[in-house]
């Protein structure tokens, strides 16, 4: 039957994995001080003391303390956004639900900005205790609460309305946007620079410390979401049908929302608002592999990571030596893609 599709899915996963490794090596070499693939590989391998290094020491430190964490962060953030996008779309049975569009990223960014601006004053006891986990945890809470609010607004006795959900997302983005505006107004010059970075998104702040903090949360969330692939498949049939197939719908919904908010929150905490990854990536995967979450979720993780690495390379090189915020690049690609989707779906009859 779908053996063909399953074979293709397995091949695609393998291919995406290899492409990702390849891009990873290139990404480490790209920048004002460019390295060949061989040199990047050398630096990576020399870590294990296997070979003599022919690359100068200052290059090694650039790679190890700037480019490597940035590349790893890009992969993590891309995977987090794409997987949570795919999961939320499955949960609400609509391919237009994106963490950014329905306000999750906005809520996360608002909470993160609040913790930056208030971290030294009102929230200082909290930030002293939580350390580097303060920001991602706050962002997670913000994302989680907004997801619950959006789900609550959009769900009635008759199920979840995607129109209501998108409208709720617009409203919430306005509220969180003005909240961020108020904090921006209160911020001093040093904070202002950090805040601008939130609104446009950037991987430039990557250090091994925040990569590790984000990685813990993102990997946990992504791995746990993958376990719900079959339940998400059943949910595509409708909530009652999933229930009749023995799926504990309410529990799964809550868990998937929680885990998506965790992944998005961690991603927003370290990289700001990077939009449309969760919309574009799962859509492309679905077009070639179909909606089966057993393949959709892992393939979205890989393609999301790949997509963000590529976008980051563009952001680092296109106006070098300056940097174009990566959120602008994903929005330039994702915005028209979203418009195209809307037009296509409207022509086919109904969103």
């Amino acid at each position: 039957m779908n053996l063909q599709r399953e074979m293709r899915a397995q091949w695609t996963l393998g291919l995406l994995g290899m492409l990702l490794l390849f891009t990873l090596v290139i990404s480490v070499g790209v920048g004002p001080m460019s390295l060949s693939m061989a040199e990047s590989l050398q630096v990576a391998i020399s870590r294990f003391g296997l070979i003599e290094l022919s690359v100068p020491q200052h290059v090694v430190s650039v790679v190890e303390s700037i480019r490597m964490p940035r590349t790893v962060l890009g992969m993590l953030v891309g995977a987090a956004l794409a997987v949570s996008g795919a999961a939320i779309q499955g949960l609400f049975r609509n391919p237009l639900a994106d963490p950014g569009l329905i306000g999750v990223s906005g809520g996360a960014a608002f909470a993160a900005v609040a913790s930056i601006v208030l971290g030294g004053t009102v929230l200082s006891p909290l930030s002293a205790r939580l350390g580097i986990y303060m920001l991602p945890l706050m962002a997670f809470l913000g994302g989680f609460i907004t997801t619950l609010v959006v789900a609550w607004i959009a769900t009635s006795r008759f199920g979840t309305s995607i129109t209501t959900m998108l409208l709720a997302g617009i409203a919430i983005n306005i509220v969180t946007g003005s909240g961020i505006g108020i904090f921006t107004y209160m911020a001093d010059d040093a904070m202002l620079r950090t805040l601008t970075f939130w609104q446009m998104g950037s991987l430039g702040g990557a250090t091994w410390d925040n990569v590790i903090a984000a990685a813990t949360m993102i990997l946990l969330a992504v791995v746990l979401i993958l376990r719900y692939a079959k339940s998400l498949n059943a949910l595509l049939l409708g909530e009652s049908e999933a229930r009749h197939l023995g799926v504990d719908v309410d529990r799964i919904k809550m868990k998937v929302i929680l885990l998506s908010a965790l992944a998005v929150g961690a991603a927003v905490a370290v990289s700001g608002m990077i939009g449309f990854v969760g919309l574009v990536v799962p859509h492309i995967v679905r077009m070639s592999l179909g909606p089966d979450h057993r393949y959709l979720l892992p393939a979205s993780a890989l393609l999301g990571a790949l997509f963000l690495l590529l976008a980051d390379m563009v952001s680092r090189t296109i106006i070098a030596p300056a940097e174009l915020p990566i959120g602008l690049i994903t929005a330039i690609i994702g915005g028209p893609f979203f418009i195209g989707l809307i037009v296509f779906r409207a022509r086919k009859g109904g969103l």
């Binding site: 039957m1 595509l236 409708g238 009749h244 197939l245 023995g246 799926v247």
Partner: protein
């Protein structure tokens, strides 16, 4: 062993949807539920499929209270065919039917075998690899039926199987209406207890072992086809004048509107 409902009451707000409904489905029989619009047929099915938890009364499957069964056990005993489906994602027909195997862990090879047989039985094998959203309403209905068949294909651990069909023929042409009810009969023949909500009195007369007639949330009559399909009762419930006569070939009762 049976799937039984005793003294069932269901209300939403001040509105009573079901009051004091009692009946049961035994393995091996086909029970048809009839009644005018708003009689509470769908509400009854929703209670029996676990969707309305706020009922009062006694609901038992195979001698044990509904709430005492685990949701995975119920999924291996009770298949439910909904009236319409919400699926808009481009699963193939075979993938949709495969979802019916979710509650089971019989292994991929066995699952595939069952999926193909279920697809064959509802006459959609020519569509096995077609994309579900591209199908017509009637084809979708049959694919959903195949999915439910795959779900209760064979008896596993928890006990005897039941199939609840909510207007399974509403989107089907005449030939496939017959096919669907023949299938329901065959399943009953294999020991499955089948309940079907129907609107067509003659389909009910042709296939049912027993009929439960609902009116305004109450059981107006239940019994064999001959007992329930009475001109007086039908006039009372549906406000139409009918005459009951034997079918020229099968000799079963046939309802003719006057």
């Amino acid at each position: 062993m049976s799937f039984s409902v005793k003294h069932l009451n269901l209300g939403v707000g001040r509105k009573t949807l079901l009051s004091n409904v009692s009946f049961s489905i035994a393995p091996g029989e086909l029970v048809v539920v009839l009644g005018p619009n708003g009689a509470g047929k769908s509400s009854l099915l929703k209670v029996m499929s676990g969707e309305h938890g706020f009922y009062e009364g006694d609901l038992q499957i195979n001698g044990r209270a509904y709430a005492e069964w685990g949701s995975d056990e119920i999924a291996r005993m009770v298949g439910v065919l909904p009236q319409s489906s919400l699926l808009t994602f481009p699963f193939s027909v075979a993938e949709v039917v495969m979802l019916g195997r979710l509650p089971h862990s019989t292994g991929r090879a066995r699952d595939l075998e069952i999926v193909h047989q279920a697809i064959d039985r509802v006459d959609v094998s020519h569509l096995t690899n077609a994309s579900y959203p591209s199908l017509s309403g009637g084809e979708k209905q049959r694919v959903q039926l195949a999915r439910v068949l795959a779900q209760i294909w064979e008896e596993t651990g928890p006990g005897e199987r039941y199939l609840l069909l909510d207007e399974p023929t509403s989107a089907l042409d005449v030939a496939h209406q017959q096919l669907t009810l023949q299938l329901a009969r065959e399943l009953a023949g294999q020991g499955v207890g089948v309940m079907a909500i129907l609107h067509d009195l003659n389909l009910a007369a042709q296939y049912a072992d027993r009929i439960v007639m609902l009116q305004q949330g109450e059981v107006a009559a239940q019994g064999t086809v001959g007992e329930v399909l009475e001109p007086d009762l039908i006039r009372h419930l549906f406000a139409i004048d009918v005459s009951i006569m034997p079918h020229p070939v099968s000799q079963r009762p046939m309802v003719v509107t006057l």
